[in-house]
Structure formats: C-alpha cells, structure tokens
Symmetry: C2
Subunit: 195 residues, 2 copies
Amino acid sequence: MTQAGHGPRERMVFSAAQLIRRNGVTATGMREVAAHARAPRGSLQHYFPGGKEQLVNEAVGWAGRYAGKRVARFVAGLRQPTPSGLFAAMAAQWTDEYAADGFAAGCPVAAATVDCATGDSTREAAAAAFAAWCTPVAAALTDMGVPAARAASLATLMISTLEGAILLSRAERDVRPLTTAVRELGPLLDAAVRR
Amino acid sequence: MTQAGHGPRERMVFSAAQLIRRNGVTATGMREVAAHARAPRGSLQHYFPGGKEQLVNEAVGWAGRYAGKRVARFVAGLRQPTPSGLFAAMAAQWTDEYAADGFAAGCPVAAATVDCATGDSTREAAAAAFAAWCTPVAAALTDMGVPAARAASLATLMISTLEGAILLSRAERDVRPLTTAVRELGPLLDAAVRR
DNA sequence: GGTCGAGTATGACACTGGTCATAGTAGCCG
DNA sequence: CGGCTACTATGACCAGTGTCATACTCGACC
C-alpha cells in the first residue's frame, strides 16, 4: 500500500482506506481523513457530496481493486506458479507489513464489513470488493490447472482463511496464524491441480 | 446465544457483546447497552468503573469463554467424532443463525479486534478470547487422534477459516463461503487423524 | 476586463459520545 | 431510629461527529 495519490480526491480515498484499516469505519472521522490526506476540509463536500457513506464505499472499492490487481503481480512473480505459492505470496504481503510496521492495520474491507453502521450500501461495496479480489484468484488457479469447478471454491477458501488469519495475527500480535495457515493449507491447494 | 443473564451486570455484558457483534465497538454506545439490557444507566459507572473499555473487554472475554464451552458440547453431539464433523458443527451454528435471523451479526471478538480504538487492553482481551476458543478445539482434535504437534496448528487454521468465512458470508449475505469452507477443509482435517 | 466555475476555507449547527458529579432510594445491621 | 452500603437516577459537561451555508481564491475562457 504505497502512497500513490496524484489528485487530492484520490489521496482522500486512499487516506480513508488507510485510516479505516487501522481504526475501523465509525472511529474514522471525515476531518481526520482530510488531515491525513493533507487535503482541505472543504474539499470533502466538494468531491464526496454523498457524505461519509460515499467516501467509505469508494475506499472499500479501491481496496478491492487494489487486492485484485496484486494477484496478477503475485502470480507473475512466482518462478513456478502453484496454488500454494500464490497463497504464500498473498500471506507474505501481510507478514512483511506486520514485521516492518507492526500490527496496527488490518484489511479495510473486513473493517467495513464488521463496522457496517454506515448503511447497507457499504456492505454491498464490501461484497463487491471481495468479488473483485476472489475472481482473479480463481482465474489464476484455473491457469495453474485447477478444474474450474473447484477453482472458485478454493479461491473463496483462500480468502476466507487469509482474512481470518489476518484477524488472529492482529489480535495476537504474532504472525503465527498467518504462517500456519500457509503451511497447513498449501498441500490441500496443490493437490487440486490436474496433472 | 440465548438470553442467560441473571443479574443486571451479566445482562449488560451480554447486551454489550450482542450489540458489538452487530454494529462494532465504536458504534455501540454505553446508553444503548444499558437500554438493551433494560438496566439503569447509573449502573454502568457502578459495575464498570473502568468505563467503556472495561465493559467491552468483559464482553469479549465472555464471548471467548462462551465459544470455548460450545466446543465441548459440539463434540459431545457428534455420533462419530471427526475433525471435519466438529468443524461442520462450528460452522453450522453460524449458518443456522444466518438462516433464521439474517446476516446482521458477526463475531464480537472479530469486531473488537478490527475496531480497536478503545485501547490496547481490548486487543489483549481479544487475543485471550481467541486462545480460550482455540485451546478446547485443539484438545478435541487430539482426542480424535490428531498428533498433538498438528492439533494446535489445525485448530488455529479452523478458527481462522471460520472467522474469515463468517466475514465473507456476512458481506455477501450468503452462507456460501461458510459451506464451501466446510466442504473444502473437511478432508484435510480428517486426513490428519492418526490411524 | 468581466464572468464563470472548480476548488478552497471557515464557521456554525444539531447531535451524540463517554464521563463525571450529585442526589436519591432501598435494604440491612446495630 | 441512625447509619451504612449497594444501587439507582439524572443532569451537566466537553469533545467529537457529519453536515450545511457561506465566503473566498484563482485560473480559464469569451
């Protein structure tokens, strides 16, 4: 998650995702988002006339697209593409971040799902984000030789397990749940490739 | 999660867990908890001089102990105890609730982990709750014949996957992530029993 | 130059949050 | 009865929220 906002609008969406990831939706204030993005407070109502709900939904959508794009880069970075390798790479993104920056942040989509006081549209945005994340994973699995029927199921399983392991790791302040998830789930994933 | 509070204090802890489960920590107000528990507002500062932080932590701890106790009942209810059967029973608790009452609520411990604006002690309470949940699961696995070395890892995997599947199911308003987790993870779990 | 509009900047509003202070009530014990 | 403790009840406070209204800057365009 590198700082990559050109315009002030994108910076605000990015900052919103960043803060939601850390503190949750309700605990993240609009003024706080503007300050974090070093954007004028008045721009909030200008760019996001739909208020906080719109801002949160866009942040969630951004996170989903970001995660989806990362999948392609992960599989491209594998010397020998295997399902377990992809899963390990996805988990490594989190273990690396936790090792470098601490356990302060989680997945913004998860935060939006749990903290859905904003309205039902946020829940829909979260579902769309998970779909945008799950689809490329399933596609990568089929490319690796997993039958199409199981690819979608395994992709869902991978994201479920990863999301839960992130949760446990954050609570325990230890990457152990993430590493055990990779170790235990890897063989199951590789066993699904048709040879 | 049946209403089981005798005294007003327990009712408040229970109500707090219930509301946190639905709306998250920050979005749950103290006055709201008192009203939901049909307890006088003044009792809040009497029973919980530590303020919201104490109330939230006790609610999280209660949820952890509750989940831990459920495990023993689950394994007792299985006619033939297998790891996959236990996992299916744990997931069924959620699919049943979602089928009956809708997708409004999630796991309170997950909510407390994500929405940790209350302070670091809440995170520790969440870690303790996950431990109180994970330990009996690992014990049940060893009883079923899983080598002790893997039992702890598999218990962590089960809870990670379950927690993530709850998240996805809630976002999608569909129990599909939960059912696929059970279907895909079952064989892996049963393959770990020593025979 | 004048006009327009995108974007910026503030201040105010109504409201809710957690917390504190204080007063009141009930029941038990001596 | 008085006194004490457990509990209840209420009101006030201040910081914070999202949102709105208004006024300002500044560059582009005719």
